[in-house]
């Protein structure tokens, strides 16, 4: 369980800085899929970096399974939008997965089986000898997923991972991610600015307000069976509600 209570984040000095987060409270239970939704600059990536342990909070507390989060840990794996930057470009697909096993000190004799299993899971078995530069954008994202899953994290933190992909590839990646999530029962915190993406994926959608001093304005539960049909009237209704929420917020700022 991830618990965020009263978290504020100020960049720069305390009295003359930019207040990115103005008091966030959030609980994500084990195995849950939560989306952080909001326009650019609403601090959702900042919150994710705090959950990952990359950034410290200015006030408040973040806990994972009862222990305060102080630094990055392998139980929470961050998943970056730019897979090309996150993967090690001088290693082939299988060597990238092997890197994760190596730093995690998995016994060497188990490597081949684990590498084979996760590359197969993301459909990259045929491309295991290729370097990231030789893979398409979607393949690189799948490789990043395989590398992240190979260390068996309890939480996947995803920062707009599919924003740079074309619509068709993105839909396939959604189905793929949901399938893996349901099989491995990891907790997912997924940042996006795309309302349909949030509705397609999440158990709960946390709508964040525009910065400075962002807060979670509304939590929307999505009780629709997966795979979700976004043309379903209930999904369409949710879309309209959330869109109204976001545009009201944007209008207030303007």
């Amino acid at each position: 369980m991830l618990r965020v209570s009263g978290v504020r984040k100020v960049f720069g000095t305390a009295d003359d800085g930019y207040v990115a987060l103005g008091g966030i409270d959030l609980e994500v239970s084990t195995g849950e899929f939560v989306c952080l939704l909001g326009p650019s600059g609403c601090g959702k990536s900042t919150l994710l970096n705090i959950l990952a342990g990359f950034d410290a909070v200015s006030a408040g507390a973040v806990e994972f399974d009862g222990a305060p989060i102080r630094r990055a840990g392998r139980d929470r794996v961050m998943f970056f939008q730019d897979a090309g930057a996150a993967l090690l470009p001088w290693l082939t697909a299988e060597e990238n997965v092997r890197f994760a096993l190596r730093v995690r000190k998995v016994p060497k004799d188990q490597w081949p089986a684990i590498i084979g299993r996760y590359l197969a899971m993301v459909d990259l078995t045929a491309h295991r000898q290729k370097f990231p530069a030789q893979l398409s954008g979607g393949m690189r994202q799948r490789l990043q997923i395989a590398r992240a899953l190979a260390v068996e994290p309890k939480v996947l933190l995803m920062d707009e991972p599919f924003a740079a992909l074309d619509a068709l590839t993105r839909r396939r990646m959604h189905a793929f991610l949901l399938d893996i999530w349901q099989r491995t029962q990891t907790t997912v915190v997924f940042v996006t600015h795309d309302i349909s993406e949030a509705i397609a994926l999440a158990d709960r959608i946390c709508v964040m307000s525009v910065g400075p001093g962002s807060v979670i304005t509304e939590v929307v539960r999505v009780d629709l069976p997966r795979p979700r049909d976004l043309t379903d009237p209930r999904a369409a209704g949710l879309f309209k509600d959330i869109e109204a929420l976001l545009s009201r917020d944007l209008a207030e700022v303007a």
Binding site: F54, M78, P89, F99, V103
Partner: protein, 284 residues
């Protein structure tokens, strides 16, 4: 092989046309060897123009034509004289270059990592790097004499700052996302540094070494002209005092050739050993 213009004409007519298999063949041969052929053409044209100019326009004593230079070179090669000078200059460059690169990479990696150390040493480095190896010759001779040590020192000096500055820049520019990704997979700080940061810096380090190699070939000559009794620079100086322009040109050509060959060899070695670290530069 027909002349180049012929090939181009044939290629225009017949590329991809099944009725002209010969033309297609020639066109594809041209495509494959284009770089090499143009390289050879450039050299041939260069030497031919030099020969003509030296024979008909310039004073052949001041600028001896290439055929005379080659004729002068043959006995120098046969007697082993020039090879001895080449060997001694190369050994000076190699020792200084390898030593300078090694020390600079180790120190550069440390400076790239330890901010305080860098802030303390950077001003000194910024001042010292303007002292070219040539400027250091007089003091090097006093410190180390005219033996090998002074030449090792001068090449080391020239190599060190170039490789150092590039290494520090490379370590600094290791992408943050790449390091964070490794961190949350469970990599320790040491692992991130050794397995992520240093390989990320490799292209910068190699670039620095290439520049330093060129500068080493440039610095060895003045060092040997001013303070040596052997080596290519000494051959230049000695021939100049005896007004042997032919031998000066042999020495000059040798310098061109050596620098060129060494850069190619260096690139081939890098391609063989480090290509996977070099090829990704365009990716991120």
């Amino acid at each position: 092989m027909p002349p180049a213009s012929e090939t181009v004409r044939l290629k225009r007519q017949g590329a991809g046309s099944p009725s002209l298999p010969l033309a297609v063949h020639l066109a594809s041969t041209w495509q494959r060897f284009r770089g090499l052929l143009l390289f050879i053409a450039s050299i041939v044209i260069g030497f031919a123009s030099w020969q003509i100019l030296s024979t008909f326009i310039f004073n052949p004593f001041l600028i001896p034509p290439p055929l005379v230079v080659f004729k002068t070179a043959i006995p120098m090669i046969q007697s082993g004289e020039i090879l001895r000078d080449v060997a001694i200059s190369l050994s000076r460059v190699s020792v200084g270059f390898i030593g300078g690169s090694a020390v600079a990479i180790v120190l550069g990696v440390m400076l790239g990592r330890v901010r305080l150390l860098n802030e303390l040493l950077d001003p000194i480095i910024e001042l010292l790097r303007y002292l070219s190896p040539t400027a250091m010759i007089p003091i090097a001779v006093i410190w180390f004499g005219i033996g090998e040590m002074s030449k090792y020192f001068l090449i080391f000096w020239g190599t060190f700052f170039i490789v150092l500055i590039n290494t520090v820049a490379g370590v600094w520019r290791a992408p943050v996302i790449r390091q964070r990704a490794a961190e949350c997979l469970g990599a320790s700080r040491l692992q991130i540094f050794v397995l992520v940061v240093i390989p990320s810096a490799a292209p910068y380090i190699v670039t620095g070494m290439r520049i330093a190699m060129a500068s080493s070939f440039m610095s060895i000559i003045p060092a040997e002209i001013l303070a040596a009794d052997s080596g290519i620079g000494f051959l230049l100086q000695n021939s100049s005092m005896l007004l042997q322009t032919n031998r000066i040109f042999v020495a000059l050509l040798t310098i061109c050739l050596l620098g060129f060959i060494f850069d190619r060899v260096f690139r081939i070695i890098v391609d063989r050993m480090l290509s996977r670290y070099m090829s990704y530069v365009a990716l991120t």
